[in-house]
Amino acid sequence: MKLKKLFTPTIIILSVLLCVLAYFAYAFEFFTFSTDASGYTIVENNESDGFYFTYSNNDIILNSDNANTRIYALTVDGVAEMTQANLSALNENYLGSFIATIPEQTSDLNQDGNKETLYSYAKTDMEFTQGYRPAAPEFDNQLMPFEVIFTDRTTISLIFNGEVLANQTVTVYSERSGQAEYTSNEAGEITDLPILDIRSGILVTYFENDTTVYQMHYQVEDNTLLTSRYISALSPFFLILTLSVLGIILCLILRRRILLKDPIMSRFLAGNRKVGTNGLLKSQNRFGFMNIRWLIMISSFFLLVFGGKLLGTWYQNLEIPIFSCPINQDQLIGSSCYTLSHLNTLFDMTWTEILIFVGSFLASLIILGRVICGFLCPMGFIQDIYDWIRRKLKIQGLFFDEKIYQRITPIKWGMLLIFLVLCFVGGNFCDICPAITLSPAFAGFKLSLYLSGFMMVFVLITGFFKRRFFCTICPLGYLMGLFHKISLFKLKKDCQACTECGACYEACPMGIKSIYTERKKKDVTSSDCIMCGACVDKCPENNALYMTFCGIPFYRASRKTFMSGYQKNERKLKRQIKKRNKHDK
């Protein structure tokens, strides 16, 4: 009894604690990548044609056809010229931005017959300089009057003689899509240059007048798959996996110790300990909607991680509310979670950007709704994998009853508060968000993790024992759930056909009880529903539950499909009877 009384206060204290922790999330370092250039070396390669930087593991290679190159670097003390002595080993004083110059040349670039004076530069930024920050590293404009600056991992802006180069046309040659002309806007930004082009390396040519031409090659340190660099980017994720497995084992041992004291349950420990996949009830497993859901989830995971590289990033203008970290630039579709958790950035946005943000948010709410949670979200996917593993190992899970769901709502409110308000008081939700550990790491982005790493370990451990635990406290999902009435996907019920067998309630990862107690309304979609279809999958009554899109049912419960696994048993029986009849004759 005492324990029960303590439950609610504990939850409230926990949610307050969570809010406080979120404010200081940056102080909890989980895994940090070095944010300086130490360990890297600059190698000069004078054999190649052209003038540009490339990367190869820990080498920054300057390719040049000219022997008289000079390399400048940004250091904590300002711009410094590199000498042979410090090229071979960079130290922590270097900020990760380098520019190389060669003496001015003459060349007829616009082929008008007159030779122009050509100033050539090559610039590179190492990955850690490209974080979300208001200002990108900038060099001395006395040395290099023309500079290309890559901001926020998304935009290219041009600077000339210390001022932005507004409304000017430049020629951009990119490794990916060749040569094209772009015009900068008022702020000196080239907005319509695809990000994949930028990342492949660009050569920007600017004709100041007929006699002077500036040329800068810009290369960012890009993520490349399946290299040692990629594996090192994944290492925090592996650390999280290891910690979560250790945590799960610890929980299992603890539970065993508690159960041993229980007079009834202690008897069953021996049977439960036997971990393995044999002896599973196969007849209720069949190929169907749930397998399709898995396929969609897997493909959505890969698209959200690598999709941008394969299919281009045009879709990134669309932002769907999904916990797939937008720091990953290879993501197919943008995620509005960053804007939602940093609402203060709305003030800096242009009207078109705000319109796109609000418009795509509303559109995805109407068209998809929380289908995003059940089918697309990578956070849901990884939790489902953990749950699947638990089922396969026949480890007993946790069952939450309606009271526990009710009692953990303060945590959900706390999460929502953190999600929406933290930016205004000077925190950063990304430091506590568990999703940041997943998709950028798989795409090969090196991200230092703070409290979010610990959160992810927590999410995985709880997700192992209770299917989709995080989804019950997810602020983004809750926000989407508020609009479930206008969503086109609906879960409906034939109240007369329902026998109240409660199978749907047992199957529901979100613990929605009204789905089986409802006897009046046809529409049983609730704000918690993630549209995973588990209830329809387990419903044994014909048409009792069905999912609709725009009112058109596309997945119905049916006893025939529910029982179709037993057709195998029937065929077996048929063979047996045949054999016996033969024998008798």
Binding site: I264, M265, R267, F268, G271, N272, K274, N278, G279, L280, L281, K282, S283, Q284, R390, R391, K394, I395, Q396, G397, F399, D401, E402, K403, C495, Q496, A497, C498, T499, E500, C501, G502, A503, E506, A507, K513, Y516, T517, R519, A534, K538, P540, R559, K560, F562, M563, Y566, N569, E570, L573, K574, I577
Partner: protein
């Protein structure tokens, strides 16, 4: 099985009892087989009933498994099979045993209890005497007191059922009850319930339910493919058959019904009123009501009684394949969809009946109440009101375990059938 030596008069009484009991059973069995349209594959089921009630033989399957007697449909068969036992449903419909039990229990107790107590004291039925243990779910008052009385005679286990099932705590209670039942079962059978054995028994019972689903689909056919009384006999026989045996026989019956459907062999005419029976359990040999319905020209197409469709209707839906997950699935399957009127709130039964009326195109409902079965009697009013809205006629028939009321029942059922026929004519 009788410990004390019988006096000659007691011995005579016993002989009379056996003769009378088997004579009544044989009569109803004959009426059952004489009813037109019995499929050939119904014979194994009739044989089971004959063996048990006429020949007074043990369950005629050769099994060394210890028999576990159960009452009500709320005792999980899956657990008994998993423990290596053979469940047998002992709810009785015998008129002869009823007359013996009449002296043992209060006058107003329901006849089912009287019949059970009658068999139990006479010690003539092998299915009662060979039971190693009896599991009595504490549902209605009569069952509760019966459990108390049985305790003195046999090894009885009281299986407690909460009075409501709305809260999650009620389900937790059932799960705990199931966990407590396991050691009791294991001590009787000497085998332990493991993950493997439980999943196997779930699979076997699930397959029987799959065959039942097919069977129910055939019952929905219009005109009828099988007489409702025959269908009830099948369900009654299932109480005394091992589940694999039952599935096999039902599979063969289903195959025959499928053939009938293909070649359009029907057992009823199109204009025959389609009726359903609900209410107190109808147990062989007390099958006078279904027999009367079909002899009077009605077509019994569905039943909502615990010895009928109900007992194998709801499947155990295993969501989580851990041992605990299967136990939860069992607890769920045996309580939540159960339309037993002993629960405080039982609105779902009305929805179930409405759905059955829709599925089976039922034109009239016969509400069967055993005398003294209060819980079912309580629900009649509400059902009458609801069906009135649907314009489906309903009639309440009260009966007892004797043949005295048979003429009265005949008149009422005949009138009811005529009423429906008249209604059909008016429609046209």
């Amino acid at each position: 099985m009788i410990n004390k030596k019988l006096t000659p008069s007691e011995e005579r009484q016993r002989q009379r009892f056996i003769e009378k009991s088997s004579r009544v059973s044989a009569k109803y069995l004959r009426r059952l087989t004489e009813l037109k349209g019995a499929p050939d594959t119904l014979k194994p089921f009739i044989d089971v009933l004959e063996n048990i009630y006429v020949n007074m033989d043990g369950p005629h399957f050769n099994t060394k498994k210890p028999l576990i007697g159960t009452y009500c449909v709320m005792v999980p068969q899956e657990l008994i099979y998993a423990a290596g036992g053979q469940p047998i449903k002992l709810c009785s419909g015998s008129y002869t045993a009823f007359s013996i039990g009449d002296d043992l229990v209060p006058r107003d107790a329901c006849p089912l209890i009287k019949a059970v107590m009658g068999y139990q004291t006479m010690c003539v039925m092998p299915i009662y005497d060979d039971c190693s243990m009896m599991i009595v779910p504490i549902t209605c008052d009569c069952k509760k007191k019966m459990a108390g009385m049985l305790k003195d005679l046999v090894n009885t286990y009281s299986f407690h059922i909460p009075t409501s099932k709305e809260d999650d705590t009620d389900l937790d209670q059932i799960v705990n009850e199931l966990y407590e039942l396991i050691p009791a079962l294991e001590s009787v059978t000497g085998q332990s319930i493991t993950h493997k054995s439980l999943s196997e028994s779930l699979d076997q019972v699930g397959f029987a339910q799959y065959q039942m689903t097919r069977f129910n689909e055939f019952k929905k056919n219009q005109p009828a493919l099988i007489k409702g009384t025959h269908a009830m006999a099948v369900m009654n026989a299932s109480s005394y058959m091992p589940i694999n045996d039952f599935s096999e026989k039902l599979y063969l019956l289903n195959q025959e019904l499928a053939k009938r459907k293909k070649s359009k062999v029907f057992v009823s005419q199109k204009k025959e009123p389609r009726l359903m029976v609900t209410g107190s359990p109808i147990i062989f040999p007390n099958i006078k009501i279904p027999l009367l319905i079909e002899e009077m020209g009605g077509s019994l197409v569905a039943d909502e009684t615990c010895m009928g469709e109900r007992s194998l209707y709801d499947p155990a839906v295993v969501v989580d394949q851990s041992f605990d997950g299967m136990m939860r699935a069992l607890a769920n399957r045996y309580t939540r969809p159960c339309t037993c009127p002993t629960f405080v709130n039982n609105d779902q039964r009305i929805f179930r009946i409405k759905q059955m009326i829709k599925d089976h195109q039922v034109e009239g409902v016969i509400y069967h109440v055993l005398r003294g079965c209060l819980v079912y009697d309580f629900e009649y009013q509400m059902l009458e009101e609801e069906l009135g809205k649907l314009n489906v006629p309903i009639i309440r028939v009260e009966s007892d375990y004797n043949e005295e009321d048979i003429e009265q029942l005949r008149i009422r059922i005949e009138a009811f059938i005529e009423l429906i026929k008249l209604k059909d004519l008016q429609k046209k």
